[in-house]
């Protein structure tokens, strides 16, 4: 039996144990958006900064923009739910097998500690979120279909520029996966050290991590010749956010908005690729290496905890 087969089995264990929650997470954003699409019958008047802004119903927009709108909204909601889920699960994840007392059973199987911890981390930080976001991207297309069929009829949906849309969708999937990977790597010191703290300190983990963060940023940093923790946290947060939400595209639509819809769509894959390249380029920095080292330290502490699990 090779290591890969064994690792696959460990990943399968994670799926078996957590599939219900993750399946809900994969379906929920699309379901909510589909409901929204069904009731998209009239525009909304919003009060923004003292002035009245009228937002037309989505179905009154050009077909391509509807499709993009639903895709962005569904994926955005999925991203928010994934973030909340991952952050909520992480501390418990580190203690999960000890809490249900099954740790000795898992340790009695011929699996290395590194593989066991690695499978949990990989599945919960990367694979399941990637699945949820991909499901949202695909689900958004169903939402578009539903909304279009209800408000404009099936013909309108069939008349979309499919080659452009599918191309954009494929690039968007790749961009989401890349963004997730890079965001997790940037955040790995925070995520894995928090997990490790939870594994070692149990219920004291959250107070201790919070205290270290607060003391570091507000007490230690002002006393250092060069502030350390605050800027490091800000950098990690910014890079992770930029990796996830494609900041260049936010600058882009203003520019893209001046173009017609077809041109916008045609330029979107390239814009996403360029943005992805920028995210990858941010990895070629000492800050990214430092983040990886912090993540590796957290991972090593998790492995050590599993090794010494008594």
């Amino acid at each position: 039996m090779d290591r890969i087969a064994r690792f696959r089995s460990l990943l399968l264990r994670e799926w078996m144990q957590h599939r219900t929650g993750w399946l809900v997470l994969m379906v929920l954003p699309s379901l909510l958006m589909a409901l929204l699409g069904l009731f998209d019958g009239q525009g909304v008047d919003l009060q923004v900064g003292g002035s009245q802004v009228q937002v037309d119903q989505i179905s009154s927009q050009p077909m391509v923009l509807q499709s993009l709108g639903w895709t962005v909204a569904t994926t955005g909601l999925a991203l928010l739910l994934v973030l909340l889920t991952v952050l909520g699960q992480l501390p418990g994840l580190a203690r999960r097998d000890r809490q249900d007392r099954s740790i000795e059973f898992w340790r009695s199987l011929p699996t290395s500690h590194v593989q066991a911890v690695g499978a949990t981390v990989l599945m919960h930080l990367l694979l399941l979120p990637a699945l949820a976001l991909t499901a949202a991207l695909l689900g958004a297309q169903l939402v578009t279909l539903l909304s279009t069929v209800v408000h404009q009829g099936p013909l309108a949906w069939l008349q979309q520029p499919w080659s452009l849309l599918l191309g954009s969708l494929l690039v968007a999937v790749a961009r989401v996966w890349l963004g997730l990977l890079m965001a997790v790597l940037w955040l790995s010191p925070l995520l894995l050290l928090t997990m490790a703290a939870s594994a070692w300190l149990q219920r004291w983990a959250l107070p201790v991590v919070t205290a270290i963060g607060v003391l570091g940023a507000y007490w230690l940093d002002p006393r250092l010749p060069q502030p350390l923790l605050g800027p490091a946290l800000r950098r990690i947060g910014t890079e992770a956010l930029y990796a996830l939400i494609a900041p260049d595209l936010f600058d882009g639509p203003r520019h893209l908005g001046q173009l017609d819809v077809a041109e916008t769509l045609a330029r979107l894959p390239l814009a996403m690729l360029q943005d992805g390249a920028r995210v990858v380029a941010s990895a070629a920095t000492p800050a990214f290496m430092a983040a990886l080292l912090g993540g590796a330290l957290g991972f090593a502490l998790l492995v050590l905890r599993r090794q010494r699990s008594d």
């Binding site: 039996m1 087969a5 064994r6 696959r8 089995s9 460990l10 399968l12 264990r13 078996m16 144990q17 097998d97 249900d100 007392r101 099954s102 000795e104 059973f105 898992w106 340790r107 009695s108 199987l109 011929p110 699996t111 290395s112």
Partner: protein, 291 residues
């Protein structure tokens, strides 16, 4: 015949506490070895050291491997039920079979299913809905489906009722013990497993106080049943233990008692429980009782 387990000068320490102290023993193929000892005697520590889950000093070879260095390779070749083994409650039995099959190269899912069918547990039952006895049976079925030469069981029947214990031992004997594979089993239910055992390892406060086959125990230790009027004379011969029997009193000797003492009673077969009590009672208790 190469022993499956060879330990020489094995020691293990948790901070100031000496959990295992200079143990030396071997376990040959085809044996059913009972590991006996009080709570805290070091049984679990020894078993964890044997499967590489606890680092120990000294020389230790299990199935020709060094547990501390070759934990994964070793666990591939033996079957092990740890003392606090609780199967994950979220899993169905069929899922556990799938997962163990994915991680253990010598595990036969088909055989596990066949063994499970012999119990009252269904393949689609969730572990959290099973009684403790059922969970232990499932666990034994899982490890018995591993094609291994050695099985290590750390108090597997702890907390089970008598029917569940009986079912457990039946499954163990029928499906695993074939005269070539060995079992090392720790338990407090000495009377129940005495008839299963071929050898005994007895631990007392981390030290190995006995490592013998049951045949050798019968040859070496002598229990002498005697009349209460002979109690003083028997006590003067310094037996390991004096205890009451339904018909009167008895004394346990390491070796044959002097002929004049042997003549005061009749030779009995020493029970493992009496031997256990004799060899693992704390010295201060022995002193207080004048032994």
């Amino acid at each position: 015949m190469t022993p499956l387990i060879q330990a020489q000068g094995l020691s293990l320490r948790y901070g100031a506490k000496q959990a295992l102290d200079d143990l030396s023993f071997t376990v040959a193929p085809g044996r059913v070895v009972g590991l006996l000892g009080h709570n805290g005697a070091g049984k679990t520590s020894l078993m964890k050291a044997l499967v590489g889950l606890q680092a120990a000093q000294g020389q230790l070879s299990v199935l020709g491997l060094t547990p501390g260095q070759d934990r994964v390779a070793l666990l591939e070749q033996l079957a092990y039920i740890p003392d606090v083994a609780i199967l994950p409650g979220w899993a169905r039995v069929s899922q556990l079979i799938t997962l163990v099959a994915g991680q253990h190269p010598r595990f036969s899912a088909e055989r596990a299913r066949a063994l499970i069918r012999r119990t009252s547990v269904g393949l689609e039952d969730k572990v959290k809905n099973l009684s403790k006895g059922m969970v232990v049976q499932v666990h034994l079925a899982l490890v018995a489906a591993i094609d291994a030469r050695l099985m290590i069981l750390d108090e597997p029947t702890l907390g089970l009722d008598v029917l569940s214990r009986k079912a457990f031992y039946e499954l163990l004997l029928d499906e695993w013990c074939d005269g070539e594979r060995s079992v090392l089993i720790s338990t407090h239910q000495i009377e129940e497993i005495e008839t299963l055992l071929s050898d005994v390892l007895m631990l007392n406060e981390g030290r190995l106080v006995l490592s013998l086959s049951l045949e050798d125990i019968d040859r070496r230790f002598v229990a002498l049943g005697h009349d209460p009027t002979a109690a003083d004379a028997v006590a003067a011969a310094h037996p390991l233990l004096r205890y009451r029997t339904p018909g009167g009193s008895a004394a346990l000797f390491d070796g044959a008692p002097p002929p004049e003492v042997a003549a005061l009673g009749q030779r009995l077969r020493p029970s493992l429980v009496d031997l256990f009590v004799a060899l693992t009672r704390r010295p201060e208790i022995n002193r207080n009782q004048g032994l």
